[in-house]
């Protein structure tokens, strides 16, 4: 159930996001999922790549402040009510989600959902017990 994500400190300054993508591109790293919210001066960019270890290395070399975080990743079918089912489950067990993002590949009938929670062990078990399909990054 656990998925590794890289968090990157990013100043809200022209060209920084582009520079970030350039660094990964130069290292031939593919971005699988990415999330950034609108903030004023700075924000945290969250990203999942096909090679997180290498990504952290090249980002650090290029002066980016990064950290690796573990998220819970699961899949839901691409139809109404599926997301609600999982969120209700979590809500019923008082699981607090600090942030969530999703991505679905075009042409796929499933979406990957990534959530940041306090207790990864508990939530993993809860989802597995309730037959939620894990998201496993290939």
């Amino acid at each position: 159930m656990k998925v590794e994500q890289i968090a990157v400190f990013l100043e809200n300054r022209k060209g920084r996001l582009c520079k970030f993508a350039q660094v990964l591109y130069d290292a031939n790293i593919n971005i699988k999922g990415m999330y950034i919210a609108d903030t004023t001066d700075y924000g945290i960019l969250r990203v999942i790549t096909n090679d997180n270890e290498k990504a952290v290395k090249v980002l650090k070399e290029n002066g980016f402040n990064t950290t690796v975080t573990e998220l819970i990743g699961f899949k839901v079918s691409d139809k109404p009510g599926e997301m609600h089912k999982v969120l209700k489950l979590l809500n019923d067990h008082n699981v607090d989600i600090s942030y969530l993002y999703s991505y679905s590949e075009i042409g796929s009938n499933q979406a990957a959902i990534l959530i940041k929670v306090e207790d990864n062990e508990f939530v993993s078990k809860l989802l597995i017990d309730n037959k939620v399909e894990p998201f496993i990054e290939k």
Binding site: A7, E11, Y42, I44, N65, T69, S98, Y99, K116
Partner: protein, 434 residues
């Protein structure tokens, strides 16, 4: 080691007798030899014969930086140019530099005073000293170089710049002592880490002598931690002699002024009156022994305190505190006096941010705005946004407690702020343009 036991451990009474004798002599000397001083003193109704006690020094007009600039390059010389042995110049912030001249006699004093500063810091004859000040017109590099040599140490004149090479030299040549600006010491530590060195294991450094810019206790603690060394501060200025005016001993409770050569006073920068004992004031220095280009009651603009009690290290010379600021780099923000050193102290105590910072002052309408930029150093803060917000608020809060005014804090990416190899210039006051 105490380099000059006689002069560094004299009783106050003996010292004052020596100082008075030298003061009378030097004031007569400049009056006779330097037309500038004669004109100035005559105009002010002062005559060298009026010096009967040390206190009478207060009757002498001050000398200011502008006097040195106006008399560029040789106007304040007391000897023929042919007698000069060395000429240095200080970085002029505007236009012409300030020229400083040394005779053979001045060079000897300078070397001795720098040797005393090295000895105060704990430098030993078997040390290997890497001097990372820029060699050239700047007095810092050659001054400390000569002082360390006089102690008997080996000197690596590495100069400033090319930090990766500096790190390599420090490691390979097994330097035990680093001489640099405090900000450059941090830069060296940063690059050493980036190159993958374990500073404790790979380096032989044990001591740092830092000068040429003011630095807080907290910054010294940070350098001590990062480079695993004992740090000391020392002070000097080209107009007076360069380094060698004063330096910290291992007790680290102030910088011992070489008072038999440099007579210190503290004045209130506005009233120009002496401050009460223990009070903060602007340091005024008189060179008691130089013969090439003496300066009398030179206003340094550096703010500090003086402590005349004898030190546990055995020295009796007066100790000046770290420079708390400069009377001309004090920022007045919304009517409140702010010294950049206060901001530095606050920032250095917050481990999650880096040791570089920038201060920017602007004015919007009639409102001054103080912005402080710091680098986010701790990756673990990125696990959630709230931690970053908390850090942001902590920096802002701690600044408010010390400064009494609100600062706008900006968290920026690591390594994005300017690094300095010489004197750090972290303050930009954009109000002056308006």
């Amino acid at each position: 080691m105490i380099y000059d036991v006689k002069h560094e451990t004299m009783s106050r009474e003996e010292l004052e007798v020596l100082q008075l004798e030298r003061l009378k002599k030097i004031v007569h000397y400049v009056y006779e030899k330097v037309p500038f001083y004669k004109r100035k003193y005559d105009l002010a109704g002062f005559h060298p014969d009026m010096i009967k006690t040390l206190k009478d020094i207060q009757k002498i007009p001050f000398t200011e930086k502008s006097d040195l600039r106006d008399n560029y390059p040789y106007g304040l010389l007391a000897v023929p140019i042919s007698k000069l042995k060395r000429i240095h110049a200080s970085s002029g912030t505007s236009g012409k530099p300030t020229v400083v001249c040394y005779t053979e006699h001045d060079m000897e004093i300078w070397k001795d005073c720098c040797a005393r500063v090295c000895g105060q810091a704990g430098l030993e004859p078997d040390d290997i000293v890497q001097v990372c000040f820029g060699y050239g017109l700047f007095t810092g590099a050659l001054g400390m170089h000569q002082g360390a040599e006089r102690i008997g140490a080996a000197v690596i004149p590495a100069s400033a710049g090319n930090t990766e090479r500096q790190v390599m030299l420090l490691k390979d040549l097994k330097a035990t002592v680093l001489v640099s600006t405090p900000s450059y010491a941090l830069r060296i530590a940063e690059i050493a880490r980036k190159l993958g060195y374990d500073i404790k294991k790979d380096f032989s450094l044990r001591l740092g002598l830092f000068g040429s810019e003011s630095s807080s206790e907290e910054m010294h603690a940070e350098i001590a931690k990062q480079l695993n060394i004992f740090t000391t501060d020392n002070y000097g200025l080209s107009e007076v002699i360069g380094p060698g005016v004063s330096g910290e001993c291992y007790k680290k409770n102030g910088m011992h002024i070489n008072e038999d050569h440099f007579y210190p006073e503290l004045i209130n920068s506005d009233t120009l009156e002496p401050v009460k004992p223990g009070e903060i004031g602007e340091l005024v220095l008189t060179t008691l022994t130089k013969d090439g280009m003496p300066v009398i009651r030179y206003r340094t603009k550096d703010i500090c305190t003086l402590d005349y009690s004898p030190c546990e290290c055995g020295r009796t010379t007066v100790r000046m505190s770290k420079i708390l600021g400069r009377s001309d780099d004090m920022l007045i923000i919304r009517g409140v006096n702010v010294f950049p050193s206060q901001i530095e102290s606050v920032l250095m105590e917050i481990p999650e941010i880096g040791s570089q910072y920038e201060i920017i002052v602007t004015r919007e309408g009639n409102m001054d705005k103080l912005e402080v930029r710091v680098e986010v150093a701790d990756g673990s803060l990125l696990t959630d946004y709230k931690k970053l917000m908390d850090l942001h608020q902590k920096v802002q809060h701690n600044l408010r407690v010390i400064l009494q005014i609100d600062a706008l804090v900006k968290l920026v990416e690591p390594l994005s702020l300017k690094r300095f190899e010489g004197k750090a210039n972290r303050v930009t006051d954009l109000r002056k343009k308006n």
